[in-house]
Symmetry: C2
Subunit: 251 residues, 2 copies
């Protein structure tokens, strides 16, 4: 069986290239995105590049000033904190919902993505590893079958990649990450929503800590405690929600 031949439009190529370049900081925060310059580098006209920039702006990775062009959004501890606040809430809801109706097929897809990720990691292919990582997480979220919730997750996810990639490049904590991934997946396969939420929260919390450390070391921004919901608090929410009997009358 052949998969449908995916023809990639010029603007698809541009969007992907720009996203990679921004995440890898080949285009650093604050840098202007000149249409002419980029279109020459990518070997296409200005319009597909323009469209790609608008797409990234829809994800809020770049800022557009009318008639003045676009520039890459700056990174900051406040933005990092804000991003992970959203991710903690949104992705835990998705995980919680996913636990209810997690199928063997969902599990297989997630496991395959995890395997791809490790293979790419071995091969030193960072882009492929990042791609597989995203596939793993979203395979889980899609099991929730809450389409609009999943759509809401993507912008914050993509933004967090900007912080995560740099932080993960050097530091060797891959073992811990892999373990967290496996624990989330196995909890879901057991339909144990609470345990899945617990591990997801740990996963995100440790991610944000590493990212913050890295950011502080790079920019010299003042070190401070990041204010995020505590693991126990997050877990407690879902715990109590599960205990509410259905027959409680709505107000």
């Amino acid at each position: 069986m052949l998969t449908k031949a995916q023809i990639e439009s010029a603007s698809d190529v541009a969007a992907r290239s720009l996203f990679d370049a921004i995440v890898d900081q080949r285009i650093p925060p604050g840098a202007p995105l000149r249409l002419k310059e980029l279109s020459e580098q990518l070997g296409m006209s200005m319009m597909p590049v323009r469209e790609a920039i608008r797409r990234l702006a829809a994800l809020d990775l770049v800022e557009i000033e009318p008639r003045r062009g676009a520039r890459v959004r700056e990174l900051s501890l406040a933005d990092l904190e804000d991003t992970y606040f959203a991710r903690l809430h949104l992705e835990n809801i998705a995980v919680w919902e996913a636990a209810q109706n997690f199928t063997a097929d969902d599990g297989a897809q997630a496991a395959a993505a995890l395997a791809d990720r490790e293979a790419a990691q071995e091969a030193g292919d960072r882009v492929a590893a990042r791609d597989a990582h995203e596939r793993f997480h979203f395979a889980i979220y899609e099991a929730s079958q809450r389409t609009w919730l999943i759509r809401s997750i993507l912008p914050a996810w993509r933004n967090s990649e900007r912080y995560r990639i740099g932080a993960m490049r050097h530091i060797e904590t891959q073992g811990t990450r892999d373990h967290e991934h496996t624990q989330i997946l196995s909890a879901l396969m057991r339909h144990d929503g609470l345990e899945a939420v617990r591990w997801m929260t740990n996963h995100l919390t440790s991610s944000v800590r590493l990212s913050a450390q890295h950011l502080i070391s790079e920019t010299g921004e003042a070190d401070r405690e990041i204010s995020l919901p505590k693991v126990a608090e997050v877990v407690a929410r879902f715990d109590i929600a599960a205990g509410i009997p259905a027959e409680i009358p709505t107000v």
Copy 2:
């Protein structure tokens, strides 16, 4: 003090016109969006229209098939349910967070939007009323100061407008809606997060019920119970979260 002269680009005009037309069903669900046709109607070339369509596609109001053009997404009970599931979770989190640091200025802005809405309603200006309604809700959400969370809300919000506008056009339940709005606002001014969440949940729950009724009556889709979190369940989550002492150790 003069506010900066806001020049509206051609694609801004196109995006707004198209959004209004889709919400009002002047362009019905499933209808194709032909670049040439629209550009002639709007008196501009195809390119700004094309960009406007891509913007609406980013909000998932229209679907783009490569080389085949765009069409307005169909409405369905499942999509409505899904949309409000996301809204219930996301907007309640925002309201809860807003309650903590709600300022008098936040209150003033929200109250002004409410007043605008009633004035527009009197004048029979549906577009202005819709606009003011959106300003009211987002004035509240912005008080949470959780930027990425707020951004995540917008797509689902805009999608729900497609269902809500039709449902609200004929039915006269404006009194109830106004009361709910006022209650949400006054709870926030008292920093009573739990009460604000309770009223917000009621507000959304009654919205989705009306929208579902209207949709069923229009499309003849089979009537069925919509599955959404119960008010008590939603409220309980925040109730318990508030009770978790900060010193509980993170896992």
